[in-house]
Symmetry: C2
Subunit: 167 residues, 2 copies
């Protein structure tokens, strides 16, 4: 299997499953007469990031991960989404972006250096595989699972199968 | 980079960082005079699994993932832990188990079939890379991040840097 096969399907699985979570969250708000902005602004603790920001970060870790691993321009997307429709659009654009990469672009990328920012005044260099396994993917899943946890905590009827994209 | 390098460090990073979360959770209980059993039994929603079970599942997905990918005996560990010390011991044993695998055992494992249970009466067969990327790792991170979310929701002073093992 190629490095592309290790990277791109993993990002796509979760970007697609989170799209499904957004659909269920939107339906939950409609059914329970909840203002969508309340759920999008929900957090697990006052100093944690809200649901909407978790989705934006999932999007960023996927898009920037692909760009850094292939040494192409790292996209910068403003975090302007305030509705479920806009968050789904953000994920849809990210899916298109991730799908735009070709397997050839990932050839040898596991062993190439990737330099990425680690704070305002600091950068870190790791091999591509290490960057993917120890930085990009744990951050990506952290925000995806936290987004799931926020919805679950607020009573949206979802479960791990939705998170995995099996429903 | 080898398939071993893609698999084993990823499991170990999170098993180690969760050990650190358990230490902080235990200290939080002592400082706030919280019965540890209350925090270990905490959930984000009544029909979700409690914190202790999330740790047990993280342990299982790492240990069983390594075993399935290398076609060695899949361990079955009873879920008996009820204290922070016992949960840390569970993670320590899992770390030793994961570290016991050799790079040679993972050679070619990305392209070999892995058959695993998907419910009581059903099994699924995927290539090793697909099993790792689309089943083992998302489940592993799901329970790790949910464990983090439960502690965070309960006021334990941790953050993403603890989850990533950077603190």
């Amino acid at each position: 299997m190629s490095f592309y096969d290790a990277v791109v399907p993993a990002y796509l699985q979760m970007l697609n499953s989170l799209t499904g979570l957004l659909t269920k969250a939107e339906a939950h708000c409609a059914a329970k007469k909840i203002d969508p902005a309340v759920l999008i602004g929900s957090r697990l603790f006052p100093d944690m990031l809200p649901f909407g920001k978790q989705i934006q970060l999932v999007s960023d870790f996927a898009a920037k991960g692909c760009a850094r691993l292939t040494h192409t321009e790292v996209p910068s997307v403003p975090d302007t989404e305030t509705t479920f429709a806009e968050l789904k659009q953000r994920l849809a654009k990210t899916i298109d972006f991730v799908k735009s990469f070709k397997p050839e672009q990932f050839e040898g990328a596991d062993a190439k250096d990737v330099t990425f920012p680690a704070g305002p005044d600091r950068s870190v260099t790791l091999k591509g595989q290490q960057f993917f396994s120890s930085v990009s993917l744990p951050n990506f899943y952290f925000h995806a699972a936290t987004a799931h946890g926020i919805l679950r905590h607020n009573g949206v009827e979802i479960g791990k199968r939705d998170f995995l994209g099996m429903n």
